[in-house]
């Protein structure tokens, strides 16, 4: 393998990795606060992608407007999901909320099958995106660079919110102890709703870019990226935002590079993440940046 192909693969890995990272952030934030695997997150990702393309093709909206509306709309769906399916179960055993989230995931997926139809659809891309620019022997599609850059911007914005604003303070407080935060006057439900909103917006952004990168839409498109992003979050240490980012990028690299170096294994690519997950959980159950959790007696 020469340097050019390696750079090409590295760029692809970075793109894929940052897409995983954006989804993983949603998982990690919700898990950090509610200790809930939000299975519906992968459907939020899918909805984000669909909304923008319906906006562009059916409503003939300009791209930026369609993207903004789609993100806003998807964030709204995320908040609704929390309100309808998780909030009534806050005091219930955690497993109830988990089952509820599986139900919501199936519900959204099947609503998408009903309304958008199960057949995969080709995605129409703006023309400038089809023009690769060429550096030496490396062909780079604009989106390959655009995705990591935008992801970094979004993550910086998120870190600002979490570490510099009052809402962020609330999130961090709730993730330590939800009951005490409530007693201390943190508007728990509002902060959780905002968390879902932000997580869903990032998943929508990822879904849109995913559809531009791998131009196909289908109602089940969220499932595999969703699982992998969750694994990235576990790998990085669930509850930690930089953990999710690092985990996502590493997962992207492992996936692309394994296929690049061992083409015979290409058929197994969807299994790498799960193998990695099991290995990581065996060696370091709390992930790279995860805090140690003691069993409470």
């Amino acid at each position: 393998m020469n340097v050019e192909t390696f750079i090409q693969h590295a760029l692809n890995s970075l793109t894929l990795g940052s897409l995983y990272a954006l989804i993983a952030i949603g998982y990690t934030m919700v898990y950090g606060i509610l200790r809930l695997i939000n299975f519906a997150h992968s459907e939020i990702f899918m909805l984000g992608a669909y909304f923008v393309f319906w906006g562009v093709t059916l409503l003939a909206l300009p791209w930026p407007l369609a993207i903004a509306l789609s993100i806003a709309f998807t964030a709204g769906v995320g908040i609704m999901v929390d309100k309808v399916a998780y909030r009534p179960l806050r005091d219930a055993p955690r497993i109830s909320a988990l089952i509820s989230s599986i139900g919501v995931s199936f519900f959204l997926q099947n609503v998408a099958i009903v309304f958008f139809q199960a057949i995969p659809r080709a995605v129409y891309r703006p023309e400038w995106m089809e023009q690769p620019f060429i550096l030496g022997n490396v062909r780079i599609l604009p989106i390959t660079l655009f995705v990591p850059v935008l992801s970094v911007v979004l993550m910086l914005g998120l870190l600002y919110i979490v570490y510099r604003t009052k809402t962020g303070l609330g999130m961090r407080a709730i993730s330590k102890d939800i009951e005490t935060s409530y007693l201390m006057g943190v508007p728990v439900n509002r902060v959780i709703a905002i968390t879902f909103g932000i997580g869903s917006a990032l998943a929508a952004a990822s879904g849109i870019m995913w559809a531009l990168r791998y131009p196909q839409l289908q109602p089940i498109m969220g499932t595999i990226p969703g699982f992998k992003a969750f694994i990235a979050a576990v790998f990085g240490g669930i509850g930690s935002i930089h953990g999710a980012v690092v985990g996502g990028v590493i997962l992207g690299f492992i996936e692309i590079m394994t296929v690049a170096f061992f083409p015979d294994l290409a058929g197994y690519r969807d299994a790498f993440a799960f193998v990695l997950l099991i290995v990581v959980l065996m060696i370091k159950p709390t992930g790279l940046f995860g805090a140690r959790v003691e069993d409470k007696v």
């Binding site: 695997i37 955690r94 497993i95 988990l98 089952i99 139900g103 199936f106 009903v114 199960a118 099991i278």
Partner: protein, 343 residues
């Protein structure tokens, strides 16, 4: 009530079931018989998941994986070498796959045993994990099984799957296995092991403090659960006569989970009742997916609507009736016959 009376009542119940099946076989049409068969298979699956999740508290989402293993093992064993010759067009089957043959009963048991071995092997590393992580890791296991099944075409014929599997699984086989499953799991739960499993479910740390070897019991429960999941998969394969890796998506696990949660986590009676109810509902809901003709009008069916209604039902159940149909209560003859103070 004394033991012999309960024994007689049980015998009577089984005979009634037998009479019903005999009547059904003679007078119901093929579609209804197929639904009855599915009911039996779904009950087996629900009972096995309930043992793992409802009675031992291990959140496992890997049922489809164990079912896939059982289904493939059984199908390979009951397909004739001639059939395999014509079917494995992706480079042919391995020699031992090509020549493997067994009667149906042995094939089903083999499916269960191989699934149990896999349950034991993956249980070893995974069962140390806490509930959510266990869920996602077992889900990962099921996905890995599916990916492997798609790629090892010498054994599984890859994504083309296996067709023309002999349809040995009739009412008698399916309900027979259903009774065996029920019997084994009831026996297991009634003896000391059952109490230990429930203790682990209710408070693992306390159980450990009492000197229970938690890991060993979890592994036992997981292995037995995997065994019956494999049996269920094997019967399902012979029932639908066609399998391919796509059949064993997460949706399949979801259906079983739905039955267990609806019936009540930790209630075998609930699993049986919900197994009947949900299987019938799932079929009946096909109505919304088929075109409906009202006089001369034709209302187009809505593909996918069935699962929309279904997932909505699961959400509603978990929101408003968290403990499911039966909670943790079980059927008993004494209660049915109104004898108070006895169990």
């Amino acid at each position: 009530m004394n033991k012999s009376a309960i024994f007689l009542l049980n015998i009577a119940a089984v005979s009634v079931l037998g009479l019903f099946l005999w009547w059904a076989e003679g007078s119901l049409d093929g579609y209804k018989i197929q639904i009855l068969n599915l009911i039996a298979v779904n009950i087996i699956l629900a009972l096995s998941l309930n043992l793992i999740y409802g009675f031992t508290g291990m959140f496992s989402l890997g049922h489809a994986g164990f079912m896939a293993i059982g289904a493939y093992v059984c199908s390979i064993l009951i397909l004739t070498p001639d059939q395999k010759d014509t079917m494995y067009i992706l480079g042919g089957a391995y020699e031992w796959v090509q020549n493997a043959q067994a009667p149906f009963l042995a094939a089903v048991v083999a499916g269960g045993l191989v699934a149990a071995v896999f349950g034991f092997i993956v249980g070893f590393p995974l069962l140390r994990l806490g509930d959510d992580y266990l869920g996602i890791a077992t889900l990962g296991f099921a996905e890995i099984v599916r990916v492997v099944a798609t790629n090892v075409s010498g054994i599984t014929n890859g994504s083309l799957g296996l067709k023309g599997i002999p349809a040995h699984a009739n009412l008698w086989w399916n309900f027979g296995w259903c009774l065996v499953t029920l019997y084994v799991i009831v026996r297991l739960l009634k003896c000391n092991t059952g109490s230990v499993l429930k203790a682990i479910r209710d408070d693992e740390i306390a159980a450990k403090a009492m000197g229970v070897n938690v890991f060993r019991y979890k592994l036992l429960s997981f292995t037995v659960g995997s065994f019956f999941a494999g049996i269920g998969g094997a019967l399902l394969a012979s029932l639908v006569t066609t399998i391919d890796p796509k059949m064993f998506l997460f949706t399949l696990t979801f259906n079983v989970l739905m039955i267990v949660v609806t019936g009540g986590l930790g209630s075998l009676t609930g699993s049986v009742l919900a197994g009947v109810g949900i299987t019938v509902l799932l079929e009946w809901l096909r109505v919304v997916e088929n075109p409906i003709s009202l006089g001369s009008f034709e209302v187009a069916g809505i593909p996918g609507m069935r699962m929309v209604v279904f997932s909505l039902a699961l959400i509603v159940i978990i929101l408003f009736r968290r403990e499911g149909l039966m909670g943790m209560r079980e059927f008993s003859w004494a209660r049915l016959l109104g004898k108070k103070g006895e169990r």
